[in-house]
Symmetry: C2
Subunit: 338 residues, 2 copies
């Protein structure tokens, strides 16, 4: 099965580039509400499951023990821009556990935000692991480890107790056996597991509704998404698609993207989970597809909120609109038909 | 016709992302030596045809009049990194014609090279149009205009005499009528024309051999590619694929990439032109495909030169190899079969 074209990039009257992909929308029982393309394919969810990977931070009691509020919990679920507030919050989380930047094993990166990166360069500073987009997630892992009295050294390894706990949580939510056969290594050095796309959507439907979860986990899930809605800037940052969506639909629409064209979401009122994979790994396409999925399933009163359109202009560097990136005609219909 | 998968991006033992595309390899008479995917499709060549767009700079006599050497001619053909040497050379070209940065209409951009951009930021400076990757091409257009005694104002418009001359040159080399129906606007504000992929390959075969061209144009083509081989750093810059290839095969292999997954080339000894388009616009895929095409058609004595492999590791941010980006098995065979 070849996934259909979901997004076109035009220039003048011509389609210049095309992105193929698949979309799964399911409820907490696994019933499919929409399936476009090959929803059985296994994909690496990458950072799209960070909120799921943060469940042990709350479930273990570490978040309470260290006095974490919404801002820290949102950062634990984030792929952040590396803005000063993101780096400072990661540092504060580590300090709460008596640890520091040197314990982070995500790697050192310049901030993902160009503005933040240039500001750092202008200040004559160098980036640290705190600026890496995964530093909040990693700080959370270190806090779980310390709270449980386990040495965090090697916390990125699959056999470290923290990763075992994170993997078990992900396996339970996705109803999938995450064994060595489906394991690779993520960009931030933690294990990455290949998971069928519809199972990822299932996990998000469960995360949304608390169904098929122990009560403590359901409460933890609720607390994490409430934190992300309260602090959308911490989950991504200035100008980012997921920050716009979280800010536009508090208490209702949760979204989180991952590398290589993955995007996940849930719509709480509808009790639906969503997982998207663009075949070619293009984030620009995954965002437009997610915008179209939101339009199809989320009733909107009035105009579409800023920054989450399913079509955006392609600009010349002089600022003129010379084309657009848009979901294909008929995608909304395809999604509604299920 | 759906273009085949040309490139896979793996993580552990799994294919994480896939890039589809088409490859045309033809000789100067248009005879096809290889055709993978839909080679009849029209694509915007974007910056891949900059060397062709620079022909009027030499043919008009402007390059001689202003005393341009290899370094300026290579920059006129470039999509450069915005390194200090690139910006300074563009400024020198403009000054030779009594013009300056304010005449450039490409738009202002931070240098494409992260190192160059951070160096600029650290120095407390702001980017100018000289740092835009197209500044050398635009400086060339302005020089042609001034040398011909034409006001360069509006030189990016399709009806400006310089663009008419550039378009006529491109139309002749590609054997294509570049009328308004196939015209859009490039990222640097000049006209972009949609051209069948195999015709782009044809243009490069002619550029390589001088066949089907007036002698003055054939000489100009020769001078431009000799300049690029003499100054490969000016054509792109530090760490760039095309700079590696030009440096590795002087006098023989010419390559130039464009935005949205386009790459063109010629192999002079074989008299072949090449045009590649990745459907999704991914430059990472176009480079690997070009590396595979070079391997298939260019005899290499000894090891593959640095930086132009058809497979490269995917690295974690901690620097570990966690996968690879590679052309698909069987692509070399497909190319050799024609």
């Amino acid at each position: 099965m070849i996934d259909p074209v979901l997004v076109e990039v035009t220039r003048g009257g011509w389609v210049e580039s095309r992105h193929r992909g698949a979309i799964a929308v399911v409820d907490a029982t696994g019933r499919r509400r929409a399936a476009v393309g090959d929803v059985e394919q296994s994909v690496f969810p990458r950072s799209a499951v960070k909120a799921l990977q943060a469940l042990p931070l709350v479930e273990s009691g570490a978040a309470d023990h260290y006095g974490f509020a919404d801002v820290e919990l949102a950062l634990a679920c984030s792929s952040h821009n590396g803005e000063p507030r993101h780096a400072a919050t990661a540092a504060r989380m580590l300090a709460a556990a008596g640890r520091g930047e040197a314990d982070l094993q995500c790697g050192v990166s310049w901030p993902a935000s160009r503005d933040a990166a240039f500001a750092l360069a202008r200040a004559g500073a160098r980036p640290s692991a705190l600026h890496d987009n995964c530093s909040g997630k990693h700080a959370g892992f270190i806090c779980v480890s310390c709270h449980r009295g386990i040495d965090p050294a090697g916390y990125v390894r699959p056999d470290h107790p923290v990763q075992r706990e994170v993997t078990a949580t992900l396996a339970a939510l996705t109803d999938t056996s995450l064994n060595d056969d489906v394991r690779a290594v993520d960009g931030c050095s933690i294990p990455a597991y290949a998971i069928p796309l519809h199972r990822l959507a299932l996990a998000f439907a469960r995360f949304a509704t608390g169904e098929m979860m122990p009560p403590a986990r359901a409460a933890a899930a609720r607390r994490l998404c409430e934190a992300c809605w309260a602090e959308p800037h911490m989950v991504a940052g200035n100008g980012r698609f997921s920050t716009h969506v979280l800010a536009a639909f508090p208490g209702h629409v949760f979204v989180k993207g991952g590398a290589e064209g993955v995007y996940c979401a849930f719509f709480r009122q509808a009790g639906l989970g969503v997982a998207i994979k663009c075949d070619d790994g293009a984030g620009r396409a995954a965002e437009r597809v997610m915008a179209a999925v939101i339009s199809a399933f989320v009733p909107m009163a009035g105009d579409e909120p800023e920054g989450i359109a399913d079509r955006l202009p392609v600009l010349s560097r002089a600022g003129a609109s010379v084309g657009e990136i848009r979901t294909v005609a008929g995608l909304a219909e395809l999604l509604r038909q299920g």
